[in-house]
């Protein structure tokens, strides 16, 4: 299987959030109790039960209002820092597809993956276990399209072989492909007509330097039965 990817085109997104609901429906994720915080965006952030959310960005450009909808989710890095730091092998990269997935049963909730993530993506459920986009790897392995891409009415989220998606986006005239080269190539690529900052995407994502070392240390801690404190991980990486 070739490396799989999602091509996200915010210019085609109508902010309907079918992707948020389809994700919850397929993955049996409960709704969260939310309130209106003066914006349509909800839930306010990714959580262990919200793997994919649409950010609603309002801007005034040359006197004209703009409303921009941008998917926030795991980018499925080619060299995923989260996998490298995970001391128990709960976070994994599927070698066939490049999808970064996880095994909740193995996760010990140390949250090192979030600290290591260049996009601050991983979140945790009420039991402290990891929950994030896994590109519906169960569907992909069965030859199906991930729930978000399947349900997207406008083609703002497309799924396919990563290389083909990138070719397609270039053929459609997109000059900026955020994620094509970043961090050695991400599984989730944004096709943009404006610079990444316009969409409030991380302009130049960086992987923390000491990720590999951190991962190995954490493994030792686990092997020794020592607890892992998040503050120390953060300090180590800073």
């Amino acid at each position: 299987m070739a490396r799989k990817g999602l091509l996200i085109t915010p210019d085609l997104c109508i902010g309907c959030r079918a992707c948020q609901v389809a994700c919850k429906s397929w993955n049996d994720l409960p709704a969260e109790k939310t309130k209106n915080n003066g914006t349509h965006e909800n839930p306010p952030d990714l959580t262990g039960y919200t793997y994919n959310k649409i950010r609603f960005i309002e801007k005034v450009v040359n006197g004209e209002v703009r409303w921009i909808f941008v998917s926030q989710r795991c980018r499925h890095c080619g060299e995923p820092a989260c996998v490298q730091v995970c001391p128990v092998g709960a976070m994994q990269k599927d070698l066939d597809t490049g999808i970064v997935f996880y095994d909740k049963n193995v996760c010990i909730g140390c949250q090192a993956c979030r600290s290591a993530c260049p996009f601050d993506v991983p979140r945790y459920d009420k039991q402290g276990k990891i929950g994030k986009c896994h590109m519906c790897i169960d569907r992909v392995k069965a030859g199906l399209v991930p729930a978000c891409a399947k349900t997207c009415p406008t083609g703002a989220i497309r799924f396919g072989d990563r290389d083909e998606l990138i070719e397609k986006a270039k053929a459609e005239g997109f000059k900026i492909l955020h994620g094509e080269k970043e961090l050695g190539g991400l599984g989730v690529v944004f096709a943009l007509s404006q610079p990444p900052s316009y969409y409030e995407l991380v302009e130049n994502p960086q992987k923390p330097e000491k990720v590999v070392a951190l991962g190995e240390m954490l493994k030792i801690l686990v092997a020794k039965g020592l607890p892992i404190e998040n503050s120390i991980i953060k300090e180590f990486l800073s």
Binding site: Q20, W26, I137, A147, A213, M217
Partner: protein, 187 residues
């Protein structure tokens, strides 16, 4: 036993781990993904979305009489497998903890619902309809024209019904003599 890791301990460990790394331990755990697809061997039923009027096709997957998944029908020419959030939430309409499961009755001046049987409720409604109809039925209007109607019973609904239900509903209401027959289309 509570063991707190100090900053010093941690840094000590970090040196050790670097050594490990140089020994060439594989840092990328590889585990084949193996989980059964939840719609495997489920019954597929096609339906049309009950929300807006676009008329998107949806496939309902069920097992043992329970809906296990719903998603867009890829063969449907209008939505081509896609859906909006309402259509995508159909699973929660089919598996909904808040549905009314038994006929409910609120007696005059009561402050609560009470569960009743279908038989009791339908018989009681039939009796009330007949009483009201018989009392207020107008054979002629004020001008003396034959009108054969009852204005004291009114009905609204419903665009949420199927065509067949709409048809027999208006047929039933008109046979009773109702003229106040309205529904969502008016508002």
């Amino acid at each position: 036993m509570s063991m707190k890791l100090t900053r010093r301990d941690f840094l000590k460990l970090s040196i050790g781990s670097l050594v490990l790394s140089s020994l060439g331990i594989n840092l990328e755990p590889v585990k084949a993904y193996a989980k059964e697809l939840k719609i495997k061997e489920a019954k597929e039923t096609t339906t049309i979305c009950p929300y807006c009027s676009v008329g998107c096709g949806i496939i309902v997957y069920s097992k043992g009489g329970k809906v296990v998944n719903t998603e867009g029908d890829p063969d449907h020419p209008i939505n081509e497998g896609s859906l909006c959030p309402k259509g995508a939430s159909l699973y929660q309409l089919a598996n909904n903890p808040y549905r009314v499961l038994k006929p409910l009755y609120r007696a005059p001046y009561s402050d609560k619902w009470k569960e009743v049987s279908w038989d009791w409720a339908l018989d009681r409604i039939a009796k009330l309809v007949k009483q009201t109809r018989d009392k207020y039925f107008m054979v002629k209007n004020e001008k003396g024209q034959v009108v054969n109607r009852v204005e004291a019973i009114a009905h609204v609904g419903s665009a949420a019904l199927d065509n067949e239900e709409c048809y027999i509903l208006q047929k039933f209401l008109r046979a009773l003599g109702l003229v106040y027959i309205e529904h969502q289309a008016r508002i």
